[in-house]
Symmetry: C2
């Protein structure tokens, strides 16, 4: 027997969240739907998400597609998960405020793997890079610091 579309695709056509006829890939539709639920507060910080397998069957997609969507949300700093454990909605830490000294230049970028390890920066979190007038360069995790003028 030769199926012309996968069983998952057959179910997917009947769902609202993931639409096969959309130009957006399925993993983005899943990620955006969860992102919407998070930003709307429907999924509060600390809440536990269903297992990948259940999300996959309820969205009508494969587990790999859910895994990719989760990777995106984790890179965006919205969720946290670990091997064997459930997936939680993250709540963002409060930011400390630093003062940008005159003559300094402030740049933002993604950290290098070494910086991620050195400062315990989680995936998807950018960094501030302060270039002092003296030439010194300092890096601040972007999820824990904000800057103002003196």
């Amino acid at each position: 027997v030769q199926l012309y579309c996968s069983p998952g695709a057959l179910v997917r056509c009947l769902l609202v969240a993931v639409n096969s006829f959309s130009t957006q890939p399925a993993y983005l539709q899943v990620a955006d739907d969860l992102r919407r639920q998070i930003s709307s507060g429907e999924l509060a910080p600390g809440a536990k998400l269903p297992p990948y397998a259940r999300l996959a069957s309820s969205y009508g997609v494969g587990i790999g597609t859910v895994t990719k969507a989760m990777q995106i949300l984790r890179d965006a700093g919205l969720i946290e998960s670990g091997t064997g454990g459930p997936t939680y909605i993250r709540d963002r830490p409060a930011r400390k405020t630093a003062v940008l000294r005159p003559g300094s230049t402030l740049v933002t970028r993604m950290p290098t793997p070494a910086e991620r390890e050195a400062h315990a920066i989680e995936p998807g979190v950018p960094v501030f890079e302060v270039c002092e007038a003296s030439g010194g360069i300092t890096v601040y995790p972007g999820d824990r610091w904000a800057f103002t003028t003196g």
Copy 2:
């Protein structure tokens, strides 16, 4: 015939770049090796990378593993690629400098999908978020702007 490890794993054991006995996953080893070549200048901006299939065979991994490594480098803003076309090393655009007004607060974070589209922000690029004393909020692409004090 039942193999106890994949052919790719057999070759992988003999290579330096991707080591099965390392604690780091293969896709990270591939990404880090390419990242090293980029930062060392061995792969200059504008250079064209080999096709995924050739990278996969030379590293001794599957195409899916190379695809995941490429996604990471893409999210880091180091490469650019499109369907049907080759993968290029990106060169970063020069940043314009803006002045942070007194009383304003500067924050960095990853953009929302809507902001990415509105400002044509490429994947892996964070944004500055300026909160004026008046309450107004403005977003600046992090790869095209830097901030100083007045």
